[in-house]
Symmetry: D3
Subunit: 321 residues, 6 copies
């Protein structure tokens, strides 16, 4: 599947247009929704500007645009992993899923359909949220093809509440729904960075009952990144993986632009180190969610999101060489 | 119904706590949801922090809080109308309607119920949006008691689209729905300040077919405030009135913190002058909507909303003396 | 040249993707740089993210992106002029000119080349600055085809200084250079809105010597929009026109996001009214410049820029029907 | 007293350092506190970074710095009045009065002393507030020399409360104290732009009893600038004048960065027009107060303050030629 | 004293109103100032919106409101300490102390009186500053009942200057005054996180003379949280404790919204870890001070303050079970 | 060269003017450009407000002003190093170099000239950028006197690209140019903190070929500050040193106000610790660059820059005692 991409060589890069110029796509990838292009692609970036599932500060609908824009400042080569992911992998920017603001059910159906088109061609969907509720329809598109997935979930919140305000579908519940719908394999799944306050002791008990491995932020900050990598590997095994990265996994100092921040989290350097220790040969889907641009005039949250995706793509590319 | 309120006299006012201090209610009104307090009230302020109906920039759920906070800077006496509205009228701050973020239908039902409790005691509901979709459930609570209402609608948008993205209930459609449900009397209704761009010529034709009187911003800016008052009076007559004030009626210079601004609008001085020319003896309900605090670090939009409400209450109070 | 565009009908518009979604082009126009598409186009929008010519607050390089983004909130139909410009006119978004940050000379040459490609096919270049220095290379691309142009220049500054800090090419000098290079016809040219402070009495004397008609802000605010239209018409006659709109023409209340604001300017309603009174049958080029997004968290400056362009296109479309 | 200043000629101005560079003084005036320099000066700019007198949003202590910084964007020549004030008048920037944050009494004494040093040499003190409480100690420095002054007071608030929270000295009371202390001549004094809400009918009655002429914002917006100039002239006569300009005189759209904004005010163009109609031959002191920089990321409020001072100096300079 | 609170069970929590809705009290506690409610309370939250004691960036008067607002995002259960503090402890939100902006002496007296009312009923006062000068009147209310208190002081500054600008009462001096007035037991007191620049070597010598234990930030960052807990325990012993937490204890990355930040401080995760190691059986009073909301559009500073208080209450609750 | 400065004693410091007051110079140093003052100076602070060399987010031209302003909050004594640098060393604030916005070549020549005047008197130039391109002309002024310098370079970027967009002189190339021009001694030079993405593997290879020692951020975060100090010492030896500190060396959480942030960097506490371990007896020049104030409303980036300079001066002062 992986093939060297036919691209202008690096030596010409200093003559490229400036990074703030032009029509913004993620990493300046080619924008296309054509099946023939998807067929040639190893991955497809999809914006999912849906934030109706948010229970507190809202505005993640503008995140795909903000992440695309700041991604222009990312250069092609990853010096730690010694790989240029968009040269090793063929990728495109699919644009945004045609969500319906205010209507969760219809939006979820459209997200599922859109991701389905990408999954059909075995391209890796790389999804720019939107709020965390979007993980559910993405998993609904993936599971029919790959079976229940191993969830690798970076977040400050477990997102496994039974419901909120009497609502079953929103950004606090996607992985409970995914579990109930059989989209994820709980005993192969792991959550990292959980912290903050809960509704009660039942919040984490639910996850244990389900079978998730949970590493709280307090535990995480006492572990080395190698240990973290090992724990993820032990849990996930050779299972197909879905990687969900809520930007509020990071401490709010590193990601101030998010709706429901929780203090006491890891640094961005730690996040990158964890990602580099992941084995992502079986990666089938990715989302990075909960960026809320209007709360961060410095745009460092969107930059963190874009860099996290670049790092994930680098790990994939390094593994595929 | 109107009776002099039993309140500390003005002469003590300079010894009051500072306007930034304390638990914020609108105009520092007493907070209560008790029927016996509602029974004694001429008006009740209700926050409706619902913004799931928004199609573009979102966050009006924080507007009730922002408007309450800045309302602390408003003093009791209106020198133009020579009245202290909260001394002539009994009012309370009911708190917020228990909306369900992300679920329009359930939220609308809860808003209707909440307003219904106020209407039951013939208190005037003064609603702090939230987005403009909240006008519909408020009207649903009012019409059973007062019959179809005369709509006096300040806005840059007609809000009478048939649907958006296939959705019938959101901030672009409330008055089409209200018309269809028989909640408003179209020939007694008037829209002021309409401007910006439309989907097509059909947008305003719909309003004409319905029977609304429409004064566009271009027409409005060529009229005196007395003419505006006369046109409203001619249209509304002695009918019970619902006054809906979308803060984007104001030019964005005067209300930058709003989701869907349209340039080319009136000033705040003009808005106040129009309000003072209204005859509001038959006022049955009020909303001020579409304030989006996170887009306005100076808080002048929330201040405009609070002042508009104060001015409306002043007109009511002056008329009741 | 003008032909009805083959486009989805208006009735489908409510089912379109939300205005914040997708890859942003101006007014969601098709993005293309292909000659065959230019050949079919009545106008081409071009971003010119160049701000090295700025002498004070800098950052207009991000304006094309900001204007494209907010332009998603503009709907297709202009109700005042009763026209849907992008349905009457064929247009595309060409993307950005490949400028070189920090190098004025090379950037100007690239801008000239880029605009030249559009002018070659007789499409109208609609340029999103960038700072005001970009007008010079645009005029250099236009004049060889159309001869010296009549300049219709909305601005608070005359932009006809001989030089600044010993530099001849920057945002304070474009029209002095254009005059010297014979690109504009001074006696057919008019400047509107000039105000603020000057270096000395010589600043306006230069313009008089050159032959420009100058209407200061003080004069403008005493004139009706019809008078303004008449004065422009009298000056310009039947000459080919270049319309340059510096966003600081507007009072800073209406355009806070700009580098060199001057208080005491017109409102956005006045600006729209002036534009509607223009006769633009001979329009050969347009720029809207000096938007500085980082200074305006409410984005009303970018919205004003986008709306001004929409209004100009509407006038052109209305005249071509 | 007035003499042509020995300054570099205007023709060299384009070779000056950029307006954002260097150590910021007001209008790049020479910074000095030496008596021999004061003796040669027609006016002295003094920062008064005192905001302990503020009852609501606070931070005007940073206004002198912000106004000095943005004043770098003002060029030397006023084209409406055809004068370059800093060439006709000798001026210096004295720096800031050594106030004591948190201690009103000691600060007022230091302000009085500082202004006294300037008044001693008959230089015009031009004071950059700070909050409006600073007018009192400035008047205490002026009255011993010039007798009770005619107050020309642009503001949305009367600032003549008897006390606030039991406190007699703060930004709501300076002119009541000044009246009681015999520092102003009430029948020669005029207040323009008063609006917003009052504590009760007594607020303006106090001013009438005192003898002030009051033009409310509602009245002002119905008058031409010539009428305004005439009314001021009639009130003030040939009396020595103190001009106090609270930036919240402007509508918050034009001055969002202020602590206690009131909607419904005049534009900056109107403010400039009023100032140009003033006869300021007898001007003995000036303050511009209540700029709160942290609330205005666009800095248009500080720009308005700087421009208002420049316009006042221009009127003085034009009158002295 | 501690008794299980009669509250709705946790299982109903998902049907609560949204966290952004309603009249904001701290953690949605009941608002009351009635003696009978205080008598039943284990703790009372009191806002102290006083910032006249600030020597640099000002605006902490808005902190109680901001902390209350963001505290709505905190859920009832602390998973690290396995306790739901507001269910173990009875608490209320008293509202704000009736301070007098601009008058330190009168404000301090009112703060002392207000806290005195709470102390009278042996409820724990949990104070939301305001600036750090408020610690003095709080200690004045506590010491008469409990004797000199052991101070546990998290801060980047020692706050033991003899005076500033000749003033004895402000945010740089509270603990020198408290020492002089015999309100604290210096040999039982400890300061953690001190860093930044001093006026001279005398600054810390004063603290040593007084008898305070001081752990600088440089020392702190080299210690484990257990060591920190041990050092505090060794110093404090069984003495009644006053805990004062200046938010600038945190590095400015974690608390950008504060008046006098000092770089080089601990993370929020470290702060939480230190708090969890405290023995707070003898806690008699708490303040969290120096949050300055207008400098932090992301609100992460107010969130840190709210979470710190929640963690302190959790430690108290866990100790009382 | 070093002599005790004739200054007011520390004991008077509490009577100084407030830190927000007055005309801002760096650390309130005397402002002078007179040769006789330079002759007496150990160091001279020079603003270099040049940002034409920026390839992405622009506005560092306002950094000297922002750093000077916030430096007022720094007190004279460094408690870690037990030294008051401005009392041990004679220093002045020279003001800004007279750069030409938009013209790199002329600006570089003027910067070189300005620094040359300082170097002439053997004062240490302490330069406030501006973007990183300014290091080149500073080195051009230093090398003729001191020979090729040992570069100690804190940065997330190597800044040794051959060119960008075909341009040789900008903020991505200064040290390649300095190497080519023989201004630095590569084998004595060290870069610390390099991270983020590269154009390709060649980016670091170039540095190795040149002879630079490079410690990437990943390596740095695994080293103790003593090791870092040792590595720098080993590299630099007794060579004359140029210290260049790009504020984006810090993680964006600690320095959000910068143009090209890279996540995954060190904390400010780490940066201070590294600086304290430097041996700076041979320090010949310093710059701190790439602060972009408009992106950081909390001003913590400018504070970090000011504190870094204070720490460097402290190390120099401690070494000279």
């Amino acid at each position: 599947m992986m093939q060297k991409r036919n691209q202008p060589g690096l030596s010409d890069r200093s003559n490229e247009p400036p990074k703030f110029a032009g029509i913004h796509t993620f990493l300046n990838l080619h924008h296309s929704q054509r099946p023939e292009d998807l067929k040639e692609s190893d991955f497809a970036v999809v914006g999912v500007p849906f934030d109706t599932g948010v229970t507190y500060r809202v505005g993640a609908r503008f995140a795909p645009s903000a992440i695309r824009s700041i991604s222009g400042s990312i250069r092609p080569f990853n010096p730690v992993l010694q790989v240029a992911p968009t040269e090793v992998l063929n990728g495109l920017d699919y644009g945004d899923a045609p969500i319906v603001p205010g209507n969760t059910e219809r939006s979820m159906e459209r997200i599922r359909e859109t991701i389905g088109k990408i999954v059909k061609y075995e391209a890796l969907p790389v999804c720019l949220g939107g709020d965390h509720s979007i993980s559910l329809p993405i998993l609904r598109a993936l599971a029919p093809k790959y079976g229940p997935l191993a969830l690798v979930h970076f977040d400050s919140h477990p997102d496994t509440w039974p419901e909120v305000y009497g609502e079953k579908y929103n950004h606090a519940t996607p992985f409970m729904r995914a579990y109930e719908e059989g989209l994820i394999a709980p005993e192969k799944s792991i959550q990292l960075g959980i912290r903050g306050t809960f509704r009660g002791p039942g919040d984490l008990e639910a996850n244990e009952r389900i079978g998730f491995t949970v590493i709280t932020a307090e535990q995480l900050l006492d572990m080395s990144s190698s240990e973290v990598g090992r724990r993820v590997k032990e849990t996930v095994g050779e299972h197909p993986v879905y990687l969900s990265f809520d930007i509020d996994f990071l401490d709010p100092a590193y990601a101030p632009g998010t709706g429901t921040p929780e203090i006491g989290g890891p640094t961005s350097a730690q996040a990158l180190a964890y990602i580099r220790r992941l084995s992502l040969e079986q990666l089938k889907g990715v989302d990075v969610v909960e960026v809320l641009p209007s709360l961060d005039p410095s745009e460092i949250t969107a930059l963190a999101a874009a860099t996290v995706i670049f790092e994930i793509l680098s790990v994939v590319a390094a593994g595929s060489k």
